[in-house]
Assembly symmetry: C2
Homo-oligomer: 433 residues x 2
């Protein structure tokens, strides 16, 4: 189909004759002599007019009864028409059915349950909403990568297979590996710390896996995570990168995905309000804000969704909450030298109830401290020897963070649930199609 024009590019061909291919998404007939149809080729949608006299009669007849989701090849002239989608319309001079759909397309105009739609995800993808969500996802990925690449970061992929289950196997998926049991990675952080000692500023961006028994609108068992890590950088620099990168994501989504945001009926103003700088508040300050609310917790307890939602509800943009209690955070986080009861970590919480989208901070660089923590938490030291090597040979302040892609995409598109932010979402009960 080398001479076909993609629908995205049709406007460039106004006044010309073109060939286009696509699926019949909608049809409206005015008697038997005039058919209007919406053709989608994946790059966009256009109205095609098939009219008696313009095409042979048998083609006119075919156009009047072609089932939805059949593929068609259309030759016609591109006309500017401000009333139409994309400002253009195609008057067909030839209408060929390439492959007629076999029976009725399972996804119709009526309301379907989520289970049915997810069972038919391979077909549901063709609907406007998934199309828009996935285009936004692709834009978010590009925005993140180009932002980091432009700042000199090197993309280094973390391994998925890991023989050590250093932090315990509770949330790890076991894999049968040539007769042994190994585990799927749930973070690339430790490997990125090693890579940062070799390449300075690095990031990995790939799927990660968590065997959490969570059935919430924020959880998938398989999700993509972006994990930048910087040698010779502290918490403030990590927060600066989080902020500028998310700022770039918001800006590019608004600039490059306006039709998709409109298709999703996303409130644009709420997204426009999300340009940096973002408020930076400490965990202790956040707790003050929770006092007297249903989400109030005593100092020392971790945030859950109610706390994230309640704290972020006071702001119309993402917020950075830093310096959580040392006792509730991972052993590798660096205690604040000025107040060792808190660590130099930071979460970014999205507005509109989308919760934590980033977690990170400065890593403990002191060998003795890490050895002490590993012993204190009863972790298997031998599994961490390689990680401790990074402190034996040239320790330095290293900082980084992990961004959950699906959560950011769900927020951008106001999708409500992360399962719509993944092409083929995996949850506790779904690994198909």
């Amino acid at each position: 189909m080398e001479d076909r024009i993609r629908i995205r590019q049709l406007a460039e061909h106004a006044g010309s004759d073109v060939v286009l291919c696509g699926w019949v998404r909608q049809r409206r007939s005015s008697g038997s002599k005039l058919h209007f149809m919406q053709i989608d080729d994946g790059t966009g949608r256009v109205q095609v007019v098939v009219k008696k006299g313009n095409v042979p009669d048998e083609q006119l007849e075919a156009a009047g009864k072609v089932p939805f989701e059949s593929t068609v090849i259309i030759r016609g002239s591109v006309k500017e028409d401000a009333r139409q989608l994309g400002g253009i319309e195609v008057a067909a001079t030839e209408f060929q059915v390439l492959s007629a759909a076999v029976g009725e397309f399972p996804i119709g105009k009526k309301e379907h349950g989520v289970g049915f739609l997810m069972d038919n995800r391979h077909l549901w993808l063709r609907s406007r909403r998934p199309q828009a969500a996935l285009r936004i996802r692709a834009e978010v990925i590009r925005a993140c990568r180009e932002h980091l690449d432009g700042r000199g970061f090197t993309n280094v992929d973390a391994p998925i297979f890991n023989s050590s289950a250093a932090e315990g196997t509770a949330t790890l998926f076991p894999v049968e590996y040539f007769g042994e049991t190994i585990y799927l990675s749930q973070t690339g952080q430790l490997h990125m710390e090693a890579a940062a000692q070799a390449l300075g500023d690095v990031y990995c961006f790939g799927p990660t896996f968590r065997a959490e028994k969570s059935k919430t609108r924020r959880h998938l068992t398989e999700f993509w995570m972006l994990e930048p890590e910087m040698a010779f950088a502290d918490l403030n620099e990590a927060m600066d990168v989080m902020e500028s990168m998310i700022g770039s994501v918001v800006e590019r989504t608004l600039t490059n995905c306006r039709p998709e945001l409109d298709a999703l009926e996303r409130d644009i103003a709420k997204l426009e309000a999300c340009m940096p700088p973002y408020p930076r508040i400490s965990y202790s300050d956040a707790l003050e804000r929770l006092k007297g609310t249903d989400a109030e917790i005593p100092w020392g307890e971790d945030f859950g969704a109610p706390q994230e939602d309640a704290v972020s509800a006071g702001f119309d943009k993402p917020i950075l909450v830093h310096r959580f209690p040392t006792a509730i955070k991972a052993f590798y986080m660096k205690p604040d030298p000025d107040q060792p009861e808190v660590v130099l970590g930071c979460d970014m919480i999205a507005p509109e109830g989308y919760g934590e989208i980033i977690g990170g901070g400065e890593r403990a660089s002191d060998l003795a401290y890490l050895e002490h923590k590993i012993a204190e938490e009863g972790l298997p030291k031998e599994a961490y020897e390689w990680y401790l090597d990074l402190r034996r040979y040239g320790a330095n302040p290293t900082a980084g963070f992990g961004m959950g892609l699906e959560r950011v995409v769900a927020w951008m598109g106001d999708l409500g649930h992360v399962r719509e932010a993944a092409p083929f979402a995996r949850t506790m009960s779904r690994t198909f199609p």
Copy 2:
């Protein structure tokens, strides 16, 4: 370290005073009053001169005995010096040891075995060769993504978790998934075909997993694969995209990674010879070329490494071998209408013995043909119902391919073995660190 200058950017600061951080990679002393050291911060390397009188005496003394791979903070003035690495040198006015290495760095100047180096991959990464290989890898990833993004492709990530083991479990890794057994994906192709019907031109780019008991220099159990898929496209268009994309990879590697290619002592001329167009020869023509050689095979047998090497040895650039026998190829490949004993598939074989780097072609679009093949090969039809839906509702010529990232990177850098093309390579016997 907000005011530090990254070594990559030092040349922009010639004549200025700067702060830089990094690891001590080499040191050479001229008596006790003058020390030359190579400092690397991951972004580059520079020679720093620590001289009596320029720094306090205790700092001079520290510089004379600081162990390799210690981290240091240096204040000094940037001087242009054409004899030095990068054309610059830093004259230290302050020399602080941030963290002295504990004992001798495991990787020294002497030759180490590969096993030892892979056991210490987290430290080996700091050596010039892995640094260069990983920077090339990052450039190849960017080149591929930007090439496809620039042509209107949408990045759609394929799922890793799959409950169906449609083509048999022989080379699949089983995962224990909340009490059930599922499998890790070894290709995103089928899902990309569904995505192409929704978004036109798409690609996935992520890790894939194959439980092959292959211990060769071309095999990893975990490797990254780029899989573009195009609706309304035939074999020729797929070959065009393969060719232009690999052409872009070669060009960008040559343009943007010259220091890395030099560090790897890569023969630049051989890479420069690899610009498109690439020869396109049929399987049958390739067999003619093998006649009388050790690699000769009868018509109908599949290529192995000996055939790939022998055929490609006649060319100084990648070649496209198309139209392999139908009987040896996957059921979903489209038979050539002019000669159904071959399929409209194509492999790209890299020069210099790097073997198959791409495999792909046009997919069978006929529902009855696919149903027949699935029955003929004894595959479980129910596992393919969703895939067959793509032919029931708007079949069309769809074409695509899969590119093995590590093989392309190994070829670009002439690395000899794919394990050097991955940050933390996984093989049958290695899943650590």
